[in-house]
């Protein structure tokens, strides 16, 4: 295998399609796409994109759920030398429009079935999937280098606008090729990852498929709402490698009958994105005595940079460590703040179109760039890092990272709102609970339905507050700043008064 300087994500697909054209690449229910077909479709769509004027570095927005069509479009974008921008079609229309505009996408591809999700394309030409495939093209394709951007993942931004994390072929490839080696991914593997394409977890299944010739088995959307369907999916699809946030695994353990089955095929379970509570992890491992289980850690800006194999033993009375650095990563701890700094091959190029925020995000030490993760860590036994909390107001809910400031910015756009503060606390049963405290114009108090509907027009569902509490005055500190600590205590205290059963 060529080293990082020879890594091109679509090059992996091309090579595997040459050596194993008939092996299954994507499995989506009854639809199986071989490597040969995936390669042919991707190249044909790539030349159609080139015919439409797409050139190197242009952004192609994929307004598609994680389907075979989306994976073909993703590789087509890379073969065209362009950069894909995954956009979940469930996002509010306004957020889709803002992301298309921000990324200055040249083309946006959306599903052919169902209602169009793109209302305002911000200058992008909108193609339905069937239109995109029908375009003939015979253009030669652009040549990429490993340092070129491959995709842009939009994550929550504290000022109210999502930030685009630009990731190069080399950066994504560093994680994928390490994971392939470390976990011995092979052609017989069937990999499943329920995360959407816009979530960095999806680099694992999509690109290990391309690199190692394993099958990428897409998780049907219907599984997401009924945990027992997920358990059955794992069994019936004979999944061998799984990668998700802990929340999904916990749902299967709690409500999906997971522990009453044995999974003879499942040999690898990876999880990332949030803290896995020790007792639940112990239950998972008891149900999978022969599987390798590992906690992977890293923000979108760096992908995975540390890992810890929990199936080799961990203390179930506390969350597992985030572990030791991956070999491609440079990880160090800021001695005064305890902040984890992460650099190395998997580091992002920067934030799309935001040079100041990009330079603020990095620390340069001894000539090397490190991303300031904002995560506070401690050095534990045997060189394993232990996550201690955040240095700012970013939170995690079900693996999604959320800037509370972005929720506040959404509220502030409602003309009835004078002041707003969002806080989060941990509830033992419900996980992370977000409460928005609002002060409205007199006589303009919002009902919870009104507040949620307003935010749902601006924010993805996972960012919506669970509760909205009206206040006549915000608690303030001595310098007139909102006292978030007092509000968080109040939000946590309200649980005791039984709003939820």
């Amino acid at each position: 295998m060529p080293g990082p300087d020879g890594w091109l994500l679509h090059g992996w697909l091309q090579r595997t399609a040459e050596t194993s054209p008939d092996a299954p690449a994507i499995v989506e229910g009854g639809r199986v796409t071989s490597f040969g077909e995936l390669f042919r479709q991707a190249v044909s769509l790539a030349s159609a994109l080139a015919e439409s004027g797409v050139s190197k570095g242009d952004r192609i927005a994929l307004v598609l759920p994680k389907t075979t069509d989306a994976v073909v479009s993703l590789f087509a974008t890379l073969f065209a030398g362009a950069v894909y921008v995954p956009i979940h079609p469930r996002w509010p229309r306004e957020r889709i429009a803002a992301t298309l505009e921000d990324s200055a996408a040249r083309i946006a591809i959306e599903a052919s079935d169902g209602a169009p999700r793109i209302r305002d394309s911000g200058g992008a030409a909108v193609l339905s999937w069937t239109e995109a495939l029908a375009r003939p093209g015979a253009r030669p394709l652009a040549a990429s280098t490993p340092a070129d951007p491959a995709f842009i993942l939009f994550t929550s931004g504290s000022t109210g606008r999502p930030k685009g994390v630009v990731v190069s072929h080399r950066a994504a490839g560093a994680f994928v090729s390490w994971s392939a080696r470390q976990f011995a991914v092979r052609p017989a593997d069937r990999i499943a990852c329920p995360a959407p394409l816009g979530f960095d977890l999806s680099t694992f299944d999509i690109f290990n498929m391309a690199l190692r010739g394993a099958a990428c088995v897409l998780v049907p959307e219907s599984c997401v709402w009924i945990p027992r369907f997920l358990t059955r999916f794992l069994l019936e699809e004979r999944i061998t490698c799984w990668y998700s946030v802990p929340s999904v695994l916990i749902l299967m353990l709690q409500d999906g009958g997971f522990a009453s089955h044995s999974f003879p095929d499942l040999r690898l379970v990876l999880f990332a994105g949030e803290v896995f509570p020790g007792p639940s992890l112990a239950r998972l491992q008891a149900a999978l005595p022969r599987a390798t289980c590992a906690n992977l850690y890293g923000p979108t800006e760096t992908n995975v940079v540390t890992w810890y194999e929990t199936s080799k033993g961990f203390d179930p009375s506390r969350p597992p460590p985030i572990g030791k650095p991956c070999p491609y990563a440079e990880v160090r701890m800021d001695a005064s703040t305890g902040e984890l700094l992460a650099g190395g091959d998997s580091l992002m190029c920067g934030y799309w179109g935001r040079p100041e925020e990009t330079s603020r995000a990095f620390a340069v030490l001894e000539g090397k760039r490190y991303y300031r993760t904002g995560d506070r860590v401690a050095a534990g036994a045997a060189g394993n890092y232990i996550f201690q909390g955040r240095l700012d107001r970013q939170i995690k809910r079900r693996g999604y990272r959320i800037e509370l400031g972005e929720i506040e910015a959404a509220f502030a756009r409602h003309d009835a709102i004078l002041e707003v503060a969002a806080v989060a606390h941990e509830d033992r049963e419900c996980g992370t609970v977000i409460t928005a405290f609002v002060r409205s114009r007199p006589g303009r108090e919002m009902s919870l339905i009104e507040a949620k509907a307003h935010c749902a027009g601006l924010l993805p569902v996972y960012m919506l507050p669970d509760r909205v509490v009206a206040l006549s005055a915000m608690p303030k500190g001595s310098r007139g700043k909102i006292d978030y600590r007092a509000l968080a205590l109040r939000a946590a205290g309200e649980d005791d008064h039984g709003n939820r059963d």
Binding site: I226, L251, D255, I449, K452, A453, V461
Partner: protein, 96 residues
Amino acid sequence: MEIGTEVRRYIAGNFLAGGQDLALEDSTPLVTGGIVDSIGMIGLVGFIEDRFGIEFLPREVDLHNLDTIERIERLVLDKLSSGASAGRPDRIDRNA
């Protein structure tokens, strides 16, 4: 059995901090309107199955069928009248 009323009461109690169910209409969008998130849907679907003694099939569980109280009511009535009650083995429908 008042299916819509029971579902409304569950949603009000779990997602609207109780008491605010008056503004929740049969056609109010639940998921796309931001009232119930995806994890909340898991609880709601579980409640409906337990309360009405039905078991959903994968192809029935989608946003179209579950986004409003009236659609949920129609789905539950369909399932009850077709006799698809609990105990029927569910399987992954490949054509879903």
